[in-house]
């Protein structure tokens, strides 16, 4: 069959080209790294738990220091601190609430405008709280001028800190992306997959076609600029395609278990957050053994967070270089930190004879209903995308536990009102 031989020859040539020009495959990633600097600096995300915590710690710390400086004797520190806090806390809470409310709008403003708005809010909040205190005399009012000066100073210092932090993290973005590149797809996966597809061209051309399409989708995602968050269901689909290719190579040795009953498909997650971890699971858990092994993927919604638990058989004497494993995990962890700060986490541990990776991300629903690539939308509302009320894992609907996580409440309400 001359055509088939021709196809196979083309593949072989393609593989050779890929191997010779690995540098070219990397190139598309390099551009955004160089270009991204002008996009910075940006205001911090005022809805992020990490940001809010940092502000709270800094401002209250300043109040403590002020009390210590002002009070002539140590016995008077608590009194002074109380006086300071009684004025400061209402201002702080008011401003944080306002910032929380306008955060998305603020994020769209140029940096300078945003910074002036935040400073203006500081002044406004100080004046408002002072007026309230003057009118009601609930607590002892402070010196207005002093409060304004200190407030603006703190506001400036914090903005400067967040700007420095963003700058400090930005090379990490570049670094993480470069590392991701090297860790992402192991070249041996590409070449083994091409070999597997070649082996199907003569005997099972249809399967060969399907496998090639999966490969195309996978590499499309791998090669694009992955700074934007993507819908969880897209990432899961990508993982399915990736695992289908691995299954082609490894056959019965690779068993896959999906548990996605309560997965919130519309949650926004960093692209390629799961795929590298699954690649690890296959490389370290399945490939070193000739006995069949199970990779299980369990994604669920719990207490305002999206959890993903990936398990694979632990090969104690697998002998594979575990450095590569750590690199992929560190890489995903770093990207979680960049996107979610303290709200995202990744832990890995050995449980019995299984290796387990536990990922936690805040539930941020996608506002656009257009998935990319398009995912079929259910005709009646978006029932499919809502996490089911009580499907296993003690999952709760978001509004039910709004009380304990006020920071995320507004986001959840917005999501529900959409539906």
């Amino acid at each position: 069959m001359p055509t088939m031989c021709r196809i196979q020859a083309e593949f072989e040539r393609m593989a050779t080209v890929c191997r010779r020009h690995e540098a070219c495959i990397r190139l598309p990633y390099m551009r955004p790294i160089i270009r991204q600097n002008p996009d910075l600096p940006a205001l911090p995300d005022f809805r992020n738990l990490g940001t809010v915590l940092r502000i709270l710690v800094a401002v209250n710390g300043a109040a403590v220091i002020a009390a210590i400086v002002e009070a002539p004797r140590p016995e008077l520190w608590p009194g002074h601190l109380l006086d300071n806090l009684s004025v400061l806390e209402p201002q702080l809470m008011l401003q944080l609430a306002l910032l929380y409310a306008i955060s998305p709008w603020l994020a769209r403003q140029p940096y300078a405008t945003g910074a002036w708005i935040v400073a203006g809010m500081t002044v406004a909040c100080t004046l408002a709280v002072n007026a309230l205190i003057d009118a009601t005399h609930i607590v002892k009012g402070g010196d207005l001028l002093r409060e304004l000066v200190l407030g603006l100073f703190l506001c400036g210092a914090l903005l400067y800190y967040f700007r420095l932090r963003a700058k400090a993290l930005s090379p990490a973005v570049a670094e993480a992306r470069l590392q991701a590149l090297q860790a992402r797809i192991r070249p041996h996966f590409l070449f083994n997959s091409i070999t597997a597809v070649l082996s199907l061209v003569r005997s099972d051309p249809r399967r060969a076609e399907g496998a090639l399409e999966d490969m195309a989708d996978l590499f499309r995602v791998l090669m694009r600029d992955n700074r934007e968050l993507t819908r969880l269901e897209n990432e899961v689909e990508l993982c399915r395609q990736y695992l289908a290719l691995e299954k082609l190579r490894l056959g019965e040795r690779l068993q896959i278990e999906w548990h996605l009953n309560s997965m919130p498909g519309d949650a926004l997650v960093p692209p390629l957050v799961l795929q590298p971890l699954l690649e690890n699971a296959v490389y370290h858990g399945i490939e070193p053994s000739s006995a069949p092994g199970v990779v299980s993927i369990n994604i669920f919604f719990k207490s305002g967070d999206v959890h993903a638990i990936l398990r694979n058989p632990y090969q104690a004497n697998g002998g594979r270089h575990h450095a590569g494993n750590k690199m992929a995990i560190a890489n995903v962890r770093e990207r979680l930190a960049l996107h979610f700060d303290a709200e995202g986490s990744l832990e890995s541990k050995v449980v019995g004879n299984a290796y387990e990776v536990h990922l936690r991300m805040p539930y941020r629903p996608s506002t656009s209903t257009v998935a990319e690539p398009p995912v079929p939308q259910p005709a009646a509302g978006d029932d499919m995308q809502k996490p089911p009320a009580d499907a296993g894992n003690g999952t709760k609907r978001p509004p039910a536990d709004s009380g304990d996580v006020p920071v995320r409440f507004a986001a959840v309400v917005r999501k529900v009102s959409h539906g």
């Binding site: 020859a9 072989e12 041996h188 083994n192 070999t195 003569r202 082609l248 056959g251």
Partner: protein, 255 residues
């Protein structure tokens, strides 16, 4: 005169890769006489197949479970005559530098028919790899030791070895079931498997897992020494004066 066909054994843990090599070998069969004598999913299976059949060439993947291609190549050296080995691998160039340096033959996956044919035509002129060459390649520790018994090569899993004892020209390998004789140096084995075995005597390495405890024994002339009591084997092994610290070390580890 018709040439004898080249007898080829294909070793790869991925079924599609084996199928692909088979197709390519069929394609090559038009250009030169070839016979595929078998297929194996790892090195251990390959050694089993080679009990029954002879092959001139082994085409083997490098990374495989149970026994990888590099270890297989070492055990193949024990066969008479040893077959030629050509590695097939999907790893990219810098991982293969050592192979280039030592002129070890390999084919990169996906394998092209022309390359394969060229390699096959070269086989009658190729010499089998040497142990020295294989030592230079970045291999991980072996999982088996191979011993020749009645012109067959038997694999002894490292996990099953209780102790290794040097005696004159040979090393005695003791497993729970029986003994084997091996021609290798104890020092080299200690280097390779240092994590698993501990030297209790100038001529003896014991598997740490197999040590049940130590006994104090008094000899005929009143001099006392320690002896190792073993799991699974009803024997004791003397601990030399120089290695006495082992008793304390193992004792501490087991506490």
């Amino acid at each position: 005169m018709v040439e004898d066909p080249l007898r080829v054994l294909v070793v790869d843990d991925e079924a599609p890769a084996r199928r692909r090599l088979r197709e390519l070998l069929d394609d090559c069969a038009g250009a030169m006489p070839l016979a595929i004598v078998g297929e194996a999913a790892n090195g251990r299976e390959a050694m089993e197949i080679l009990h029954a059949v002879t092959s001139d060439l082994v085409l083997t993947d490098i990374h495989m479970p149970e026994m990888d291609g590099l270890e297989l190549a070492r055990h193949l050296l024990k066969l008479q005559p040893p077959p030629v080995v050509i590695f097939t691998t999907a790893f990219h160039e810098h991982a293969l530098q050592a192979f280039d340096v030592h002129a070890v033959d390999y084919l990169m996956k996906p394998v092209r028919m022309q390359r394969l044919l060229a390699a096959l035509q070269k086989v009658p002129r190729l010499k089998p790899l040497t142990a020295a060459k294989l030592d230079e390649l970045p291999a991980s520790a072996r999982r088996f030791l191979s011993v020749t018994e009645r012109s067959r090569v038997v694999l002894v899993p490292i996990d099953e070895i209780v102790y290794l004892k040097a005696e004159l020209k040979y090393i005695t390998i003791r497993t729970a079931q029986r003994e084997f004789l091996l021609e290798e140096s104890l020092t080299r084995l200690e280097e390779e498997f240092g994590a698993r075995f501990i030297r209790v005597h100038r001529n003896c390495l014991v598997a740490k897992d197999a040590i049940r405890g130590f006994e104090r024994c008094v000899g005929d002339e009143g001099d006392a020494h320690w002896e190792v009591v073993l799991n699974g084997v009803n024997e004791t092994l003397p601990v030399s004066r120089r290695q006495q610290y082992v008793v304390r070390e193992i004792g501490r580890e087991n506490q």
